[in-house]
C-alpha cells in the first residue's frame, strides 16, 4: 500500500513545486507515513483526491479475472473430488466390513490391493485410490494482486521461485564473505568442529527441485543451482546458513542395510562363517557360505573356480573378493543350481558381496554399495513375442 501512495505523492509533487516549505513538510509526512503507516487526521495528504488509486481499485485486471475464474473452478472441482473420495471410502469400508469412521488411507490401500489384484510391473500403473490432494498436483496461488501487479519482485523473470533461490544463495555467499573478513580482521581461525558434514547426503535431484519450487527447471538451470550451492558449501563459514543448505539436500539411502548386518556364526574349528541363502539372478538359485579366516579357496558345487569355463563368469565371482581386498583372507563355498553360467556367476557374486558385509569396514560397505555389489539384479529374460523373431527383434524389412 505504501508503495502505491509513494507513487501518488511523487506525481502530486510537481503541482506544489513552487512551495518549498510544503515540499519539506510533505517529505516529512511521507517518511512518517511509510514507516508507521498511521494516518493523521489533519494530514495534508488527505486533502488530495487520489484518483488513480481509486480508479485502479475498481478495475480488476484481465489476468486477475481469468485467474479468479480458474481458481474458483479448481476449488469446486477439488471439493467435488473430496466428496466423491469420502463417499468412495465409506463404500469401500462397508464392502470390507469395517467401520467407515475409522477407515484410514492405509486400509484403503490394502482394500484396493485385495479387491483389484494387479501384476503390472510398475507400481505407479496399478489401481489406486488416494485423496484428491495427492492425485491432483497443487497449483500456484495468485502471483499478483487485484490491480494486476505481481507480489514477487522476481515475477518477470518467469521463474520467481528459482531465481529467488539463487538470489538467496548469493546473499548467503556475500554474508559468508563478510563474516570471513571480520574473522580475519580479528585474527581468529575458523572452527574445525563446526565444519559442514555433507558426505552422508546429496543435492536434491532436478525433479525434486521442481517439486519444491513448483516450477519447471531446465538442465542448465539445475547445473547453475548446483554450482552456486557447491560454492556456498565450499566456504569455511557455510555452517552459518545450514538451514538454507539442508533444505536442498537429501540423505543417501545407504544407511538402511547397516542395521541388518548379521553377526557371523562360528563352526567347530573356530572359524567365523556366514551363509547367505536365496542368491538369485536370472534363473539361478543358490546359497553362499563365507568362511573367515581362509586362503582364498572358492568352491562351487564341489569344484573349484574351473566350474565356470569362461573368464567372464570367473571374473564375476571373484570381483567382490578383489574389490574388498579379501581375496586371500576368506574361503567361499557355494551351492548353485538352475540357469546358465552367467546367471549362476551373477548370483554367486551377489551372495559373496552380501556375505562379506559382515567382514568389512563401514567405509568399504559404502563403496560396495556405490559399486553396485549389494544391489540385486532383478532383470529376467524377456519373452518372445508372436509375429517377430525375438523379444524385440523385428523381421527383416523387405520391400515385397
Amino acid at each position: 500500500m505504501s508503495n502505491v501512495i509513494k507513487l501518488t505523492i511523487r506525481q502530486v509533487i510537481p503541482v506544489s513545486k513552487y512551495s518549498s516549505c510544503l515540499f519539506n513538510s510533505l517529505n516529512k509526512h511521507v517518511r512518517e507515513y511509510s514507516s508507521k503507516t498511521v494516518t493523521n487526521a489533519d494530514d495534508i495528504f488527505k486533502q488530495f483526491t487520489d484518483w488513480e488509486t481509486l480508479s485502479k481499485k475498481k478495475t480488476v485486471s484481465k489476468a486477475m479475472k481469468a485467474y479468479l475464474e480458474r481458481a474458483r473452478q479448481h476449488d469446486e472441482f477439488m471439493k467435488k473430488q473430496e466428496v466423491e473420495y469420502n463417499i468412495g471410502k465409506r463404500h469401500l469400508a462397508n464392502m470390507m466390513g469395517e467401520d467407515p469412521e475409522t477407515f484410514t488411507q492405509k486400509d484403503v490401500d490394502r482394500a484396493i490391493e485385495y479387491l483389484f489384484p494387479s501384476g503390472i510391473y510398475d507400481p505407479a500403473a496399478r489401481p489406486l485410490m488416494k485423496p484428491p490432494e495427492e492425485v491432483f498436483p497443487a497449483r500456484k496461488a495468485a502471483e499478483f494482486d487485484e490491480a494486476g501487479r505481481p507480489h514477487h519482485f522476481l515475477f518477470y523473470t518467469g521463474k520467481p521461485n528459482f531465481f529467488k533461490l539463487l538470489y538467496d544463495a548469493a546473499e548467503h555467499l556475500q554474508e559468508s564473505y563478510k563474516f570471513e573478513d571480520k574473522v580475519i580482521r580479528k585474527k581468529a581461525v575458523p572452527d574445525q568442529n563446526s565444519k559442514l558434514e555433507l558426505s552422508s547426503s546429496m543435492w536434491v535431484t532436478k525433479e525434486e527441485l521442481e517439486l519444491i519450487l513448483m516450477e519447471k527447471v531446465t538442465d542448465l538451470e539445475y547445473e547453475n543451482f548446483k554450482l552456486v550451492m557447491e560454492r556456498l558449501v565450499s566456504l569455511p563459514y557455510s555452517y552459518r546458513c545450514i538451514e538454507f543448505i539442508e533444505k536442498y539436500r537429501k540423505p543417501l539411502a545407504s544407511q538402511k542395510f547397516a542395521l541388518e548386518i548379521p553377526k557371523p556364526k562360528f563352526d567347530e574349528e573356530g572359524r567365523a562363517y556366514i551363509t547367505t541363502y536365496e542368491c538369485l539372478r536370472k534363473k539361478a538359485r543358490g546359497d553362499v557360505t563365507i568362511f573367515s579366516p581362509g586362503t582364498g579357496k572358492v568352491t562351487i558345487n564341489g569344484r573349484d573356480i574351473t566350474y565356470f569355463e569362461d573368464i567372464q563368469s570367473r571374473e564375476q565371482v571373484i570381483f567382490p573378493l578383489i574389490f574388498t581386498g579379501l581375496a586371500n583372507k576368506v574361503d567361499v563355498e557355494c551351492n548353485i543350481e538352475g540357469g546358465g553360467p552367467s546367471g549362476q556367476a551373477g548370483a554367486i557374486r551377489w551372495g559373496i558381496a552380501w556375505g562379506l558385509r559382515s567382514f568389512v569396514e563401514r567405509s568399504m560397505l559404502e563403496s560396495m554399495q556405490v559399486a553396485g555389489l549389494l544391489t540385486r539384479d532383478h532383470r529376467r529374460r524377456e519373452r518372445k513375442k508372436p509375429g517377430q523373431p525375438g523379444a524385440r527383434k523385428k523381421p527383416t524389412w523387405k520391400r515385397r
Binding site: 572358492v298 573368464i311 570367473r314 586371500n328
Partner: protein
C-alpha cells in the same frame, strides 16, 4: 641406444635369477630347478619340434619372444629320474601322462624329447595322433592299402611323419650300424635289399609316397628288431595316444564308409610299437581329453580316456599326473612374462590372474596374451 641397451641388460640381469636357469641340459635338471625356465638352442628346436611337437599356441608365443623356453616341472623330472634308474634290458617301460586340459602334457613330452635327444636315444615321436585320424582337410589323400586287405592308408601324413622322423634322428641315421634285417619288395621293380641302411628306407617312403604307410610299418619292425639286438636305445613319444581307441575316425573311404581307427595302417604300426614285447626302449604316451571329443562325461583318468581296450593293450604302465602350476611355478611364469614385457601393469594383476586362470598354465598364457 647404448643407455637403452644397458637398461635392458640390467633388467634382464636383475630378474634372471628368479625365473631362469642357465642349465640347458635336461639330464642335469633336478628338484632345484623346478619352476624355472631353460632355453633351448634354436637349431635344436628346429630339428626336434620343426614338424610339430610344441603346441601351436606355444609356438606362436615363442616366436613372439624370439626364444623357446621350457619350464622344468616335476612330472618330467620324475620320468627322467625313472629313465635313468631303469634297466633297459627289461621289457619297455610305459609312462602315461594324464591331467586336465592345458596343464602341460605336451610340454612335458617336449622336455623329455630334449632329454632323449641329449642321451642319444632314437626318437620315434608322433606329435598329435588326431592329425592323422581326425583332421580332414579338403584334399586328404586316402587310399585302400595295397598290401593289407580292408585297411586304409593315409600316405601323405605318413610321408610327413617320415620326414619328421628323419629330421629328428638325422645324426643317428648316419651311423652305419642301422641296417635292415630283411628284404622288402614294394613292386616288380622296386625293392629294398636286406642290409641296406635305414635311411634308404626312409628316403624311399618320402619319395614314393604310395608306399609311405608300408615304410612306416617296416621301420617300426626294424626299430624294434634293432633295439632288441641292443644296437641303440629307442624313445617313443605319442601325444594324444587315446585317439587310437575312439570308436570312429573322421576318415571315410571312397565308398563313403566310415573308418574305425584300427582299420588305418598307421594305427596298427604305432600300436605294434607300444606293445610290451621288446626291450631297450622307453615309451611316453599322453591321454588327452581333446583327443576323444565324443566322450560325454569328462574325466581325466587314463582308464576313462583309453577305454578298456586301450588300457588292456598298455597294461602295465606308469600313470604320471601333470598338475596345474604350483604357487611358485605361477610366480616364475608371471616373472618371465613381465621380463618379456608380455605382462605389464601393477602387481595386483597377478593376484587377479591367479584367481581367474585357477593356476592353469594354458589359461594363464591365454589370458596374458591380450594384456
Amino acid at each position: 641406444m647404448l643407455i637403452r641397451n644397458i637398461r635392458y641388460a640390467c633388467r634382464r640381469y636383475s630378474q634372471a635369477v628368479t625365473f631362469r636357469t642357465a642349465e640347458s641340459s635336461p639330464a642335469e635338471h633336478n628338484s632345484n630347478h623346478v619352476g624355472l625356465f631353460y632355453t633351448i638352442n634354436k637349431d635344436l628346436c628346429k630339428q626336434l619340434y620343426g614338424h610339430g611337437g610344441l603346441p601351436k599356441s606355444y609356438m606362436k608365443q615363442s616366436k613372439t619372444f624370439a626364444e623357446t623356453v621350457i619350464m622344468v616341472r616335476q612330472p618330467a623330472l620324475d620320468i627322467i629320474a625313472c629313465m635313468k634308474a631303469s634297466d633297459l634290458e627289461k621289457p619297455v617301460t610305459k609312462y602315461v601322462l594324464y591331467g586336465e586340459e592345458g596343464t602341460g602334457r605336451s610340454m612335458t613330452i617336449a622336455h623329455l624329447l630334449h632329454y632323449a635327444f641329449e642321451e642319444g636315444y632314437l626318437i620315434i615321436h608322433v606329435p598329435w595322433v588326431s592329425d592323422w585320424l581326425r583332421r580332414v582337410q579338403r584334399h586328404k589323400e586316402m587310399s585302400n592299402s595295397l598290401t593289407r586287405e580292408g585297411m586304409v592308408d593315409v600316405p601323405l601324413d605318413a610321408a610327413a611323419w617320415l620326414l619328421h622322423f628323419k629330421t629328428q634322428n638325422q645324426h643317428l641315421l648316419k651311423s652305419p650300424e642301422l641296417k635292415i634285417s630283411k628284404e622288402y619288395v614294394w613292386s616288380k621293380r622296386e625293392k629294398t635289399e636286406a642290409g641296406a641302411p635305414l635311411s634308404e628306407l626312409i628316403e624311399l617312403g618320402i619319395s614314393r609316397v604310395k608306399y609311405a604307410c608300408d615304410v612306416v610299418d617296416a621301420i617300426v619292425h626294424e626299430v624294434k628288431h634293432l633295439s632288441n639286438t641292443g644296437k641303440f636305445k629307442t624313445f617313443v613319444a605319442v601325444d594324444g595316444y587315446n585317439g587310437f581307441f575312439n570308436s570312429l575316425t573322421r576318415l571315410k573311404t571312397p565308398t563313403k564308409k566310415k573308418v574305425a581307427p584300427e582299420e588305418v595302417t598307421l594305427t596298427t604300426s604305432i600300436l605294434e610299437l607300444t606293445k610290451g614285447d621288446w626291450k631297450n626302449g622307453v615309451i611316453v604316451l599322453s591321454a588327452d581329453m581333446i583327443a576323444n571329443p565324443d566322450e560325454q562325461n569328462k574325466q581325466i583318468f587314463p582308464m576313462n580316456l583309453l577305454y578298456r581296450k586301450g588300457f588292456n593293450h598298455l597294461d602295465p604302465f606308469v600313470p604320471v599326473k601333470v598338475d596345474r602350476y604350483s604357487e611358485r611355478e605361477f610366480i616364475t611364469c608371471a616373472n618371465y612374462y613381465r621380463d618379456r614385457l608380455w605382462l605389464r601393469g601393477p602387481p595386483e594383476i597377478e593376484a587377479e590372474l591367479k584367481l581367474t586362470s585357477a593356476f592353469n598354465p594354458y589359461k594363464f598364457m591365454e589370458q596374458c596374451a591380450p594384456l
